[in-house]
Symmetry: C2
Subunit: 344 residues, 2 copies
């Protein structure tokens, strides 16, 4: 079958300086490889684009290895097994893994994990039941530890992680304030997801004043996805013993002029606050717990999720670039191919 | 007896803007009050001056209440009971407490704690066995949690807290790098206290390069007493899962121009580091444990301490102001009066 298939990959053709553009990506036609013993051939269905990938496009040391220049970009992908030379996976199985940005990946069977699309939609394994949901779950609960009646602020609140953070905080009985960048988003957070208050930082005028008004009792937990001036404003409102899970700093990822701002140490001492960076891989031994709890909340209706799915492999770069333009509401995915069921 | 005694107090006569000066203090002669039922009259022997007091001289909200304008300043004092109307304390007892900056304090017996000068020198209860030692002990061990072979960096290393931090880190088997502001201090840290390396930030040229050289394996724990550019430099050297007890930010206490610097969040995310502000009062239920352990290390010879004692109540303002000029090596105390033994 492989001889009839065309493969296409997306390479990192140029490291971005500042904001990435389509020029950083190159499409390349290749042959589809045949799986060897123990391997499977996986056809991509859903492909996840995430802000952390911006870090891997630079060659600076970070927690994840930089993408190699002129080689394929990789990330979270859900696909379907179309050929199997492993007894662990069968043709038709849906699997998830860190795979290359291409239509067809050849991979060891042990390099992917089977997902059950009869109990949850396939795409949800890349959003609420995937790294996105788990990032919200562990960052908020393990580091933030919100208590009933406390005030939880989340930045990037209409993004994939942010909207799950806010809803989990509500489940835990906290008062939740979200910060987002459009009236559509703030309306969605308040009306659809039950946030107590959402602040549009672009139209708020003085963000310090708006936040202060939105948080009359101060801030006990700040789940930070964005960094920059928004976080500066939150830092002045910390209550004693506040906790700050540091998930991302999207405002700084594309800066080339240095990221300068008020030093936060004096505020942290005064309030005796804790701030901690984390990545979801740090919690890998507790993923099962996280997924089960998230799935339960989804099935009970207390946790809603939102996916923004664009169609077509050719649109992957645009979908990625959109992350930095504040375009996405919820988790950004690309549907690369339809599912084939029961194919031999 | 009280009718023969003269009292003198030090008031906060003006709130400082920027660096405090002698103009912020006023000496006032007053009568010595007589203790009432349950109270004692305490004659000041040692008076502690500490950087945190700068915060209380401003009227901004912080963890400690601001000193009131034109009222007496207060702080840690060791004194001798010279009159007692309580059966809990006798004349001649040595006591410690948060008392007013004056020669004679009248205080409820329950407002001070008796100290035993037969097992440790009186002054040590304001230094290594007092808030200073406890701050080093709990900040380093509870938040920093240094492990054998890890690299611990401490700023303000020749200060009261810093030199104890470094020695405790050595006791725990860490490699210790201190940052201080003179060659005398760095020599003292390396030769007298056994620091593995001490960096003079004033003569280091590029502090980033010097620190990098001093920490070839990166930084696992950074005990921060100073903030500012020194801390900026350390932040770029954090290893994965580094811990940063935030004890002080003396570099910013007297700034009037805002305290601006590189945002630290991106480094904290990359390294998944934890940073936490604390004050020693947060550990009050564990003071006994801390004092016993510190006393044991002192008696074993594994923990040395250094006190810089000036004589005379009239020198209290200068001793305080010296804290911000990098003058002190170790704990700064003022000897206000000699001990009187067995006075009736």
């Amino acid at each position: 079958m492989t001889q009839n298939l065309q493969n296409q990959q997306i390479l990192l053709s140029k490291r971005p300086e500042g904001m990435p553009t389509e020029e950083n990506f190159e499409f390349k036609n290749t042959a589809v490889l045949a799986p060897e013993n123990g391997q499977v051939l996986v056809r991509t269905i859903y492909l996840s684009v995430d802000p952390y990938m911006r870090g891997r496009m630079s060659d600076a040391k970070s927690y994840a290895e930089p993408y190699k220049l002129n080689e394929m970009i990789s990330g979270g992908i859900i696909g379907e097994v179309v050929q199997s030379r492993s007894d662990q996976l069968s043709v038709g199985d849906k699997v998830i893994g860190m795979l290359g940005w291409q239509h067809y990946n050849v991979i060891e069977a042990s390099g992917v994990r089977k997902v059950d699309d009869t109990i949850a939609p396939l795409s949800s394994y890349l959003s609420v039941l995937g790294m996105t949901g788990l990032t919200a779950y562990f960052g908020l609960l393990d580091i933030g530890n919100p208590q009933e009646g406390e005030t939880v602020v989340v930045s990037g609140a209409a993004g994939a992680v942010g909207m799950i953070v806010g809803q989990i905080a509500k489940i835990k009985g906290a008062r939740v304030v979200g910060i987002a960048g459009s009236d559509n988003k703030t309306a969605f957070l308040e009306k659809e997801l039950g946030f107590d208050k959402a602040v549009n930082y672009k139209t708020a005028g003085n963000i310090n004043d708006s936040l202060k008004q939105a948080c009359p009792n101060g801030v006990d937990v700040y789940f930070d996805n964005v960094g920059g001036e928004i976080s500066d404003a939150v830092m002045s409102l910390l209550n004693d013993f506040a906790r700050i899970p540091l998930c991302g700093a999207i405002s700084s990822y594309n800066r080339t002029d240095g990221d300068i701002g008020p030093r936060i140490q004096p505020n942290l001492i005064k309030s005796r606050s804790l701030i901690k960076g984390f990545i979801i891989g740090d919690y890998s031994d507790r993923f099962d717990e996280g997924i089960q709890t998230l799935a339960k909340w989804v099935s009970e209706g207390s946790l809603k999720y939102e996916e923004n799915i664009v169609e077509g492999f050719e649109n992957v770069p645009q979908a990625f670039l959109g992350l930095f333009k504040g375009e996405n509401l919820g988790k950004q995915l690309v549907k690369v191919n339809d599912e084939i069921t029961n194919q031999e």
